[in-house]
Amino acid sequence: MRVQLAALVSGLIFGVGLTISRMIDPSKIIGFLDVTGAWDPSLALVMIGALAVTLPAFAIARRHETTLFQSKLQLPTRNDIDPPLVIGAILFGIGWGIGGFCPGPALSALAFGLIKPMVFVAAMIVGMVGVQVLSKNPD
């Protein structure tokens, strides 16, 4: 139960961060990506703020090897740059540029009850399930 509760609080804090930083607003994302237009560097500061916490957080976690609840850390171990990584990142980048939504902000934007975030999330889920159905080792 405490595991789920901690995950809920983590998601809430993460989502409040997305909301306050306006990452839930696609026009804000497009403003950052539009480097030759009226460029808005805000997203760079969001990344710097987040990394200021995650860089030390991962370094500390690595030294302890277990979580505060005494469970094992489950971190990815791969270091190779393979074609799926490259192709996937490119496809994601095209989609992100077209809609201004990436997965986290799109889920938070469902809270507005607007049709557009719902359509985006539905299509994203279809895409994810499609890959998982066709792929032999998901993850």
Partner: protein
């Protein structure tokens, strides 16, 4: 130039995104990668369903929290039309699963743990998104 720049809210929001990721790591031992968490949820793998559903519920409830108990939220502006959002959603869903992550998993957490895969992925999706926006801005429509 830069009339839309909001440095304080961007930095504070970024810190909170980092804190949420750190909390999930320290308590659940998991990467706060949204596409991976949602992808796992969609596989209905029973042993891992609880924390994934709880994290996603937190993400969806967060704006309600900010609007009811916080400073309120200015309306969002979504310029893409419905067909564009369907294409964008499909590409984001397919791309993040093939490429093992998105802005959070690769950008915030992957770079945070100094993963070479995540550095490359983040550079690629940022560059591709910038080129995509440039092309769309300059289409004669």
């Amino acid at each position: 130039m830069m009339e839309n720049f909001t440095p304080v809210s961007a930095l504070v929001g970024g810190l909170l995104i980092g804190i949420g990721s750190a909390l999930l790591l320290w308590t659940n031992g998991r990467i706060a990668g949204i596409s991976g968490i949602l992808g796992g949820l969609l596989r209905f793998d029973k042993s891992n369903l609880g924390w994934r559903a709880a994290f996603v519920a937190g993400l969806v409830l967060a704006p309600v929290l900010v609007s009811e108990f916080g400073p309120g939220i200015a309306p969002v502006k979504i310029d893409a039309n419905i067909p564009m959002l369907i294409v964008a959603g499909l590409l984001v869903g397919i791309g993040t699963r093939i490429g093992s992550g998105c802005t959070s998993g690769h950008g915030v957490c992957g770079i945070g743990r100094l993963s070479p895969r995540s550095f490359i992925a983040t550079l690629l999706f940022m560059a591709t998104a910038i080129v995509t926006v440039f092309i769309m801005r300059n289409l004669p429509v």
